[in-house]
């Protein structure tokens, strides 16, 4: 039966050829979109008025990307029809593509209201993509008037942005918090030992800044009208992230660690190889989806984000890898988008971090999952029967989605052994480092793993429903051990893939 399915899949591939060419290489096949109308709109940029292609989907309007980029600037690299598109504006690179309602901005992933739609005159994208690219980074406002079919682009009015600055040094890490009453438009520039937060179109209000203590890692903080500079010690580096409500831009500054393998990160997305060069870490849940809630009220979405950020920092310290988070703030992100983004970035590993819960407060320990539609011969037979049943009942659902599943199954089968290998290493390291109850390596059809075209695991780091484990997970020292265990597992996996065990023993945390 499996052979038959594979033959059928290959036939489908052959028939659909170009249309799904990207899928075989990992990109998500876009769902067909119903467009209610298509035509030309007016792009109004001050004194210039130029035509721009637009279409209207059920979610909202989409506009021809190329026409807007020509007017507002940027270097657009058009991929084949269903592959990722790259747009470079200033020094920032944006990656997006059909079938994926999200855009990757450097190492951050932001959701879009709808996926870009391929059309004869090029890719059509939703308005919020322009707002992300040209609004926040360049200070433009976009207004769509459906009655006149006019997209107006204007410079945003200058605002006075009060900022308060706090600095604290704890356990070798200096944390600088810039707090704003609203999200300002800004970009972060880095040069040597300077990290600069540059406001776009707005001005900083200096009266809110108080005197700060001297610090071993942050030599000075200089405040201009439109920029704020952190002057770091020579041996220091800073990692930034965002917290919401109120909006805070946070920098964790720490000493660079000399390692055997000093990071020499290739900024361009790597090609798929036997190396591990790009890792996508997925903090489970987010936004209104809290995930599990512990007895003291701690929410899974917050803990997974904390763990993911720490894992990203530690992995980047230890290995020359590019590490990307699927979300770097408290935002809701569809499960399908998480793996689609990993595919888009041609990631070599996908690690989804979660915390478990059940009603019984005594359940404890970690477990690691990898996924397959066909876990065993028995379940393969069951799955085949199931497909026949559904087909016979006439409920064949979305044919394209079914095809995607088959294609994914084909693609994922080559990564099954590697996913299992990584899962075993993760489980073993967690058990050893934390003395957790070994719940073992398991398989389950978790949605977030379906669609990943690379070795992929889901790690349940402990039971947040267990009061003792919840308390431990709130302890930074315990989390540090947990992160070290995950880093060791990835290092061992990477060494195994590269055929060099020596790489691991030198640099294990």
């Amino acid at each position: 039966m499996r052979d038959l399915r594979h033959i059928a899949s290959l036939l489908c591939l052959g028939l659909l050829g170009i249309q799904l060419g990207g899928v075989a290489r990992g990109a998500e096949a876009p769902q067909p979109v119903t467009l209610f109308e298509s035509g030309l709109a007016t792009l109004d940029i001050g004194r210039r008025q130029v035509p721009v292609g637009y279409s209207l989907s059920a979610i909202g309007p989409v506009f021809t990307l190329h026409s807007v980029v020509v007017q507002l600037g940027g270097e657009l690299k058009l991929g084949p029809l269903y592959q990722a598109h790259e747009l470079i504006v200033g020094e920032t690179k944006y990656v997006f593509g059909p079938g994926s309602a999200a855009v990757t901005v450097e190492n951050e992933i932001l959701p879009l209201s709808q996926p870009p739609i391929p059309a004869e005159d090029g890719l059509k994208v939703p308005l919020d993509l322009f707002e992300i690219i040209y609004g926040e980074k360049m200070g433009y406002d976009f207004q769509w008037d459906p009655s006149t079919r006019t997209l107006t682009v204007q410079r945003q009015p200058q605002r006075l942005v009060p900022v308060s600055i706090d600095l604290v040094h704890l356990q070798g890490v200096t944390t600088v918090v810039l707090q704003f009453p609203f999200r300002p438009r800004y970009r972060i520039n880095r040069a040597a030992n300077i990290v600069e937060v540059e406001l776009i179109g707005d001005r900083l209000s200096p009266e809110m800044v108080k005197s700060l203590p001297t610090d071993p890692l942050v030599r000075d903080i200089k405040l201009g009208q439109q920029e704020l500079r952190l002057v770091l010690a020579q041996e220091a580096e800073a990692e930034d992230y965002v917290l919401q409500d109120p909006f805070r831009l946070v920098f964790d500054v720490y000493r660079k660690r000399p390692t055997a393998a000093t990071p020499t990160v290739d900024p361009s997305p790597p090609t798929r190889s036997s190396e591990v060069r790009t890792i996508v870490i997925d903090p489970g849940h987010g936004g209104s989806d809290t995930g599990a809630i512990g007895p003291s009220g701690v929410q899974e979405k917050d803990l997974t984000l904390t763990l993911a950020r720490a894992l990203r920092a530690r992995l980047a310290e230890k290995m020359p890898v590019r590490v990307i988070l699927t979300r770097n703030e408290d935002a809701e992100l569809p499960l399908e988008t998480r793996t689609a983004l990993a595919n888009q970035q041609k990631a070599d590993l996908f690690i989804s971090l979660h915390l478990n819960s059940v009603q019984s407060p005594s359940a404890n320990g970690a477990e690691t999952y990898f996924s397959s539609l066909e876990a065993t011969d028995e379940s393969a037979a069951q799955a085949a029967e199931a497909e026949n049943l559904v087909a016979a009942s006439g409920d064949d659902g979305d044919a394209l989605y079914d095809l995607q599943l088959i294609l994914w199954d084909l693609a994922q089968s080559q990564f099954l052994a590697q996913s299992q290998q990584l899962a075993k290493l993760v489980q073993s390291e967690l058990n050893e480092a934390l003395g957790l109850n070994n719940r073992g390596v398991k398989q389950a059809p978790f949605r977030v793993l379906i669609g990943a075209s690379m070795p992929a695991v889901l790690v349940e780091c402990g039971f947040v429903s267990n009061p003792d484990e919840e308390k431990a997970l709130l302890d930074p020292a315990y989390r540090s051990q947990l992160i070290n265990a995950l880093v060791r597992a990835v290092m061992r996996y990477r060494a195994a893939v590269m055929g060099s065990e020596a790489l691991v023993d030198e640099a294990l945390p």
Binding site: L355, P445, R447, L458, V464, S465
Partner: protein, 192 residues
């Protein structure tokens, strides 16, 4: 009361106390160890009742069986609905847990000619985003699926809907876009 009678009386008291302690010891942790589940009292129902096995979450992240009688039903769909309604009410045993929160109720259940059960669960109230860990979701979904498939052999698989819609997951983890089959890996060993 002579000395001999007092001794016998004391021995009886001690035996009763020992019995109470043993009873308390064996029941204090409920179904933690497989094989220790005491079958709950079967409710006495009028008519030709049928016994059904319900699979509910218990200690250790496993599903434990609770056997109950259900009133006999004329049709397969009636039996399915009555099975699901009883399942959603939760277990009678104190040491087992309801698979779904009280906000979840049965919307509709039907069976196709090919033996596929379409089960639509309705969620109302503040728990619309179920705050579940993956294990809790697996226990809920497979508790329901196993209860249906292991009691009604005419049904081959389950399609699970939420508020009338087949979603990518029911609670954020498990893929529910496909036909769900019984999962016996989660079952605790039954009482011999």
């Amino acid at each position: 009361m002579n000395q001999r009678t007092a001794g016998v009386f004391l021995a009886v008291i001690l035996l009763i106390a020992l019995g109470i302690i043993i009873l308390w010891w064996t029941q204090r942790d409920g179904p933690a160890a497989p094989g220790q589940i005491a079958a709950p009292e079967v409710p006495r129902l009028e008519g030709d009742d049928a016994l059904a096995d319900f699979y509910f979450p218990g200690n250790g992240g496993r599903l434990f069986v609770e056997q109950r009688a259900l009133p006999a039903s004329e049709t397969l769909e009636e039996r399915l609905s009555s099975l699901l309604e009883a399942f959603l009410l939760g277990p009678e045993a104190q040491n087992l847990y309801p698979a779904f929160p009280p906000e979840v109720s049965l919307g509709h259940a039907m069976v196709t000619d090919e033996g596929v059960a379409h089960i639509d669960l309705t969620i109302t109230g503040q728990n619309a985003n179920l705050p579940w860990g993956s294990k809790q979701e697996m226990l809920a979904v497979y508790g329901l699926v196993d209860t249906v498939l292991l009691n009604l052999p005419e049904i081959q698989g389950v399609i699970l809907l939420r508020n009338g819609e087949q979603r990518s997951t029911f609670g954020g983890h498990l893929d529910t876009t496909r036909l769900l089959l019984a999962n016996q890996d989660l079952l605790a060993e039954r009482t011999p």
